[in-house]
């Protein structure tokens, strides 16, 4: 699955600092604050050579404005474009939200570790996302869909604050029916029109059956969610090395230089963003 590392240092020197010029081909509003950007690398040759694995991130740059790390939320087999789900929270994301199709941005990457989908072959996969956490999980979900026969049951638990903030809800039916995934959603606050469940994501554990010996878990969400979810999964008997989390830090380089994501000897951009829970437990301040 993974490509052998490139030991030609000259190539790394060239690629790591230089951005691929890319065109925004679509900016699709998802909710009031989030937009899904389809981004295509301009050069056909570079586009062909650009490969990534589920869970990796890229640095997206707006010249003159800034550069930010964003996880890739499209299928690894999609050679046409990269999908990035971006919430409008700061200077660069705010500017990105004002861009229309046709704008040229720069991307560097891909960086970081990936969800070890190859290890999960033959197991059940439990994917848990909170809020915007569904964005990095889309790549593994697509991967699982494309290799559906490799995995046993696939369950997605998704928690959001309000029904209006549910991301990619339009795809859930397709995933359920075509790919035979079990998707459960829960929201914290909702009015009477919401037909589904109300509460926090750990409430959904009652609705599903988890076989601790046969399950891999992937968790992504706000820091507070990791604690409760992973603690709960541990009590169920799921080994910590089979729980994977994707951490968030504000990297400035993506290459283990700026230290923004450093804790001790661990860099979230090099050793992460995907960590198993055992590593996270040994990492101070991780969540």
């Amino acid at each position: 699955m993974s490509k052998p590392p490139d030991f030609n240092r000259q190539t790394i020197l060239m690629q790591s600092e230089r951005g691929f010029k890319s065109e925004i081909i679509a900016a699709i509003p998802l909710t009031a604050k989030e937009k899904l950007f389809h981004i295509r690398i301009c050069d056909p040759c570079e586009r062909e050579n650009f490969t990534f694995l589920p869970g990796q991130f890229i640095m997206i740059e707006l010249p003159g404005c800034g550069e930010i790390p964003i996880s890739i939320s499209s299928s690894t087999s999609n050679k046409e474009f990269l999908a990035l789900c971006i919430r409008n929270v700061g200077k660069v994301t705010g500017m990105l939200h004002r861009l229309k199709a046709g704008a040229i941005v720069g991307i560097r990457g891909p960086f970081g570790t990936h969800f070890p989908m190859e290890k999960m072959t033959g197991y059940n996969v439990l994917l848990m996302a909170g809020g915007l956490g569904i964005a990095p999980l889309r790549a593994p979900i697509y991967w699982a869909n494309n290799h559906r026969s490799d995995y046993k049951d696939i369950i997605i638990l998704y928690g959001a604050k309000e029904p209006e903030q549910i991301l990619f809800g339009y795809q859930f039916e397709e995933w359920r029916t075509i790919y035979n995934l079990n998707i459960l959603t829960i929201v914290q606050k909702a009015d009477k029109r919401w037909p589904g469940r109300k509460g926090i994501i750990t409430d959904l554990f009652g609705d599903i059956h988890i076989e601790p010996d046969n399950t891999f878990a992937i968790v992504c969400g706000p820091p507070v969610m990791f604690k409760f979810v992973c603690a709960h999964l541990s009590t169920l008997g799921l080994p910590r090395q089979r729980m994977f989390v994707s951490l968030e830090r504000r990297m400035h380089c993506g290459m283990g230089k700026c230290c923004r994501c450093n804790v001790g000897s661990t860099f979230t951009c090099l050793d992460g963003p995907v960590f198993d829970y055992w590593t996270v437990m040994n990492l101070k301040e991780a969540i």
């Binding site: 010249p63 550069e67 929270v89 380089c253 283990g256 230089k257 700026c258 923004r260 101070k284 301040e285």
Partner: protein, 347 residues
């Protein structure tokens, strides 16, 4: 390694000869502090007389010639149809004279991160490869603890390294460039007498270290004492100004900012050195700060220097120059913090 000797007069000729066509950087006295002592900095030299060979400690480290406070990473030419990126990292060759062993060792530690890692840094690489380093031995100051950090001697990472043995300098040669420079000016082979003198000087230097810090168990203590009130005690003093990181010879944290021209036709991507003690260091999108308090940030600074780097490269990031201790406005010195952590601090 090859060794030679050069008389002090010939050394003067050598530096003046190099200076004719090249940029020479060395310790220069800039000002005096409140007690009347000279303040030194590594700056461009215009004549040999400006070079202070017996300087005590430069206020900021010569690291800034390899990792400048501000550096343009790329420029952008903005057009209606898009933009073009231009990356430039070529520099003119130059010479740094008078670097201490601790500063040379600091560069070797930076090399581990910047050159020998997964993503080598081209900007640092260009500066490192085009800089000739002439090191200089010195007698330890009151508060130097480089011997405890094993950085009081340098065996590589320089071109020439000189030790004052009275009339002459005893020179260790570690590169072809260094050998060529020395050969162009009169230098002598090492005699038996020179060798004895050199050993004597080295012995004298080694016997003069007063400050000692025992860091053998510190990597473990960092985890054991992670919740200790030592951090709170020192951290509450910390003003979160980041001075320590600015003067430190090994701190390399940085930030990226992008500027746009007032005409909107040019943009610059700029790297500036940062400090993990500054308030917004670990802030992520949406405003969550992983290290909201000063004592937490101070702890993680030590955690990286004395634990993380040891884990990754089997050596601590600190070289024991105590520049941070001198620069700190709140009087936090690494020796005091570590002693307190180990429990040997006299209270």
């Amino acid at each position: 390694m090859l060794f030679k000797t050069i008389t002090k007069e010939n050394f003067r000729n050598m530096i003046e000869g190099i200076m004719e066509n090249n940029e020479v950087i060395g310790p220069k006295s800039r000002d005096r502090d409140t007690k009347g002592a000279k303040i030194y900095r590594f700056l461009k030299l215009n004549s040999f007389d400006e070079l202070e060979m017996d300087y005590t400690r430069s206020y900021s480290s010569p690291k800034n010639y390899f990792l400048p406070f501000k550096e343009d990473l790329a420029t952008y030419d903005l057009r209606d149809t898009g933009w073009e990126q231009e990356i430039r990292y070529t520099i003119h060759p130059r010479i740094i004279v008078g670097m201490r062993a601790c500063d040379i060792n600091a560069l070797l530690k930076l090399d581990q991160v910047m050159l020998k890692s997964q993503y080598p840094n081209p900007y640092y690489s260009a500066r490192r490869r085009n800089t000739v380093i002439i090191g200089l031995d010195h007698e330890p100051l009151e508060d130097c603890f480089c011997r405890s950090m094993n950085t009081d001697t340098a065996f590589h990472g320089f071109d020439l390294f000189m030790t004052d043995i009275g009339e002459k300098y005893f020179v260790a040669i570690n590169s072809d460039t260094g050998y060529m420079i020395l050969n162009r000016f009169d230098s002598c082979e090492v005699g038996e007498e020179d060798q004895l003198l050199y050993k004597e000087v080295r012995g004298r230097i080694e016997s003069k270290f007063k400050t000692q810090v025992d860091i053998t168990i510190v990597p473990e203590l960092m985890d054991l004492e992670f919740e200790s009130d030592v951090w709170k005690r020192w951290g509450d003093k910390c003003l979160s100004c980041g001075s320590c990181a600015m003067v430190c010879p090994t701190c390399y944290c940085y930030g990226i900012e992008e500027d746009i021209d007032l005409n909107f036709d040019k943009a610059t991507k700029r790297r500036f050195l940062y400090s993990c003690n500054l308030l917004d260091f670990a802030t992520v999108a949406g405003g969550h700060n992983f290290r909201p308090e000063a004592h937490i940030r101070l702890k993680y600074r030590y955690y990286h220097q004395f634990r993380g780097f040891v884990e990754a490269f089997n050596q601590s990031l600190c070289v024991g120059c105590n520049r941070c201790g001198k620069a700190c406005l709140a009087g936090i010195s690494p020796k005091a913090v570590i002693d307190d952590l180990i429990g040997t601090e006299k209270r």
